[in-house]
Point group: C3
Chain length 358, copies 3
Amino acid sequence: MRGSPPGWDALSGYDQQRAVLAVPASHSALQLLRGALDEKVPAVLIATRSHYERIYSRFPWLYTRPVILDSWSELASRRVQQRLREMNAVLVPHGSLVEYLGWRRLLELEIPLLGNRYLLEIEADQHRKMSLLREAGIETPRTVTRPEEATGPVIVKLPGAKGGRGYRLATPETLPRVLEELEKLGYTREEIIVQEYLVGVRLYTHYFHSPIYGRVEIIGMDTRHESNIDGLARLPAALQQQLATEPTYTVVANTPIVARESLLATIISYGERFAEAVERETGHPPKGPYSLEGVVLEDLTYKIFEFSGRIVAGTNVYTGTGTPYTWLYWDKPVYMGRRIAMEFKQAKERHRLQDITT
Amino acid sequence: MRGSPPGWDALSGYDQQRAVLAVPASHSALQLLRGALDEKVPAVLIATRSHYERIYSRFPWLYTRPVILDSWSELASRRVQQRLREMNAVLVPHGSLVEYLGWRRLLELEIPLLGNRYLLEIEADQHRKMSLLREAGIETPRTVTRPEEATGPVIVKLPGAKGGRGYRLATPETLPRVLEELEKLGYTREEIIVQEYLVGVRLYTHYFHSPIYGRVEIIGMDTRHESNIDGLARLPAALQQQLATEPTYTVVANTPIVARESLLATIISYGERFAEAVERETGHPPKGPYSLEGVVLEDLTYKIFEFSGRIVAGTNVYTGTGTPYTWLYWDKPVYMGRRIAMEFKQAKERHRLQDITT
Amino acid sequence: MRGSPPGWDALSGYDQQRAVLAVPASHSALQLLRGALDEKVPAVLIATRSHYERIYSRFPWLYTRPVILDSWSELASRRVQQRLREMNAVLVPHGSLVEYLGWRRLLELEIPLLGNRYLLEIEADQHRKMSLLREAGIETPRTVTRPEEATGPVIVKLPGAKGGRGYRLATPETLPRVLEELEKLGYTREEIIVQEYLVGVRLYTHYFHSPIYGRVEIIGMDTRHESNIDGLARLPAALQQQLATEPTYTVVANTPIVARESLLATIISYGERFAEAVERETGHPPKGPYSLEGVVLEDLTYKIFEFSGRIVAGTNVYTGTGTPYTWLYWDKPVYMGRRIAMEFKQAKERHRLQDITT
């Protein structure tokens, strides 16, 4: 796949000056729409009827028009793709869209995607994902390939981006049983990744690779609230043991966080090296938002256990106000949704949409 | 009480054009005053001498004038009420005022209250409170009516809004003893509510019911820091067990939090259904701020264990900057204090104060 | 030392109108530079080559020029001090600079320091530090002078500001062993302080003493994320015990937090009394930023276990946006870096740099 674009040119037939952002419902849609509004960039909302009625119909001023689908798979239909192409739409992919549509169908979509679509395939495979990080020279947790290699607590992760659902914590003792259970659920041993569980502060860093400005920007950081573990850890120890509930890691919410300034040396270096590794691996730089997700250990090492090749929902915590980092770059409140709209606007004006899409 | 307004018309004799906001000290007074200032709405501060000297005297530019009381009960006196009526004052009630004055005296105050005063009586009774939520079709934790029904950890809650003080965590084994202890302190079994303890992410959602705009807005979300449980949970397990300190839940501080966007479907629906249920139950909609307080479980169910029929202190985290949600509605930084002042200003100008007061 | 200024006049030969802020790299440098930019105050960055290349070279618009050092000790050289004096530079000290240069050399620097340099010596001694707090009438945790006095968990703190690194949690049983281990590492018993471990909500309050406005302002609050304890406490209790890892307290990141409004009575009083005690003790008020760091107990007592006589990194969480407290004072987004630049600008214009420096 290295460097091999699809057989078609996603932007062919597009009138760049009239291009619009196409924002799929859920995940980070509201800030993406708000960002487009801030920058006076036209944005269409793509939503299933249910999402539309329950959430987005409350905010009609945020999009120039809605494209209502009966189901997400309709987005892959010739008709809807044709309609979006007629609008000169550039689709902003996010984790929920990957989950709804599946990475294969998203990869094959004949609509230009903002960002690097070739990351979708890598992300779908937990092992390739970690390889890319290591190839970038980024510190990662140890991968446990055989249960007997586990020397402490491990986290067992399933394929795909499901917001942490189904992740399991295990010990060297319980790991064989956990793996067996997952195999019974139909997961193959190859799909699952077992990682050393890192004990420290969870830090999710948001980056933006700007082809227009020729740089990687730090947009912000968040930390996650996960269910049930947040509640479980807050029960007195004696009661936890009495309950014997297994911890689960469904991401429910996010909170702003700011790292010690000295960590920025590592954080900047990781962000830049990741962008370079992505370009080496796929033939394209990230072209927009991405995120490195990890834990800072007591010796201040930042170990990355996962990445997202697109906007992460943790950026939602800064909608409207900007972040302690974007204020270093800009004189107006910039959050990820707006940053994307800013880049899109400039690319449009300069006829450079090919530089921010794949 | 359904639909029965007090025998007097709270706004009778008022010159609506000259109406002022009356903001009681403590809780969320600073953001209420700041919000009024942003909107150029006149605001008087009502404070005891002690509150005034220790806090509000430092911010004289935030209010047009202070009304200093010797004690909170003075607010219920004919003299002070008369004085406030002469100012055309609309009182913004909050949890601390309920605690200082008692809900009965607040309910009977002959000053227009911003919001729905009839909720005060419902809120004073933990059982009616939960009924209203269930009547709205909102998911709630199971109420344990007899100790032997407890199958896991439970939380034992006392009547009134005291910021979590006195709440007790119990297990099926310790519950009878805890109830006995509370009875010895003078609480009746009817006043106390025992709820299934929910294990997940605590999410406090702030709403604003706008009679002027005819809609329910999401203002923001926070999560709470409680003492001693926050510190207790942060001790290593072995040490916790050695200490054997009982957890307590006094609310000390708040932090911003943002829910996964897909949860907004539930959050919006809860907010709207709550407003409808309040209107069915009391004859008036909420007319301003309220909050639903709950836990998001690992299956992403949002269970509400409590509500506040008024502004909650968790909204303080957004003073001045606006929230990731208000930026979806407005082109300026809007936080709860300012949102209230905006509604008040519009109601004044349109002679519609009756729509936002009771 | 009480009231004894150094033998030289730090501002002698300075052209106050042309004074610049000198901001040392790391810690809170980015917000200090951004604040200067907001206020159109000239600012030079002082950085080692490594800091410069890895972080600050990415933000060249934030400073008027960089002063690049081969090592931090160069800052104490006659040549660099001369160069800074020629620029009419006022140095903004912070915790990292104290760590890099050592408090003695910083204290002896012949460059005016923004703030009160005499606090450096007090802060270097954990016992004098606590005395100053007690002398101010601020509640503090009990100090354990002999191991046998410990009745519950204690925290063992090393001298100097190292962001919590090396702090140890101990019990009455483990304390003698922990002390022994530290003595073997070369620490004397006098350097170490053993404090009662406080169980509650950790609250770090940021203040600004303004000689220009003649008042103490609350700038904001944060809470800290520490490694490994944050991760350790999030492991199920059974697993924690199996791991038997000792907790560590390296500060990694910060999150915004807002205290209950009623706590402001204590918080304001502490801030003002601390400023007075500093003036009594050193002959100078704090003249700028400082911080009180403590725990709020379940009875809402705020006990302070540490202070910083300078800007703390927790203020970084508000860069650009302002805080829920600064919005009470100002009509523009003010964060600590900008607040410092505002005071500096006013002092320059009024020829009052001596009031904000030592």
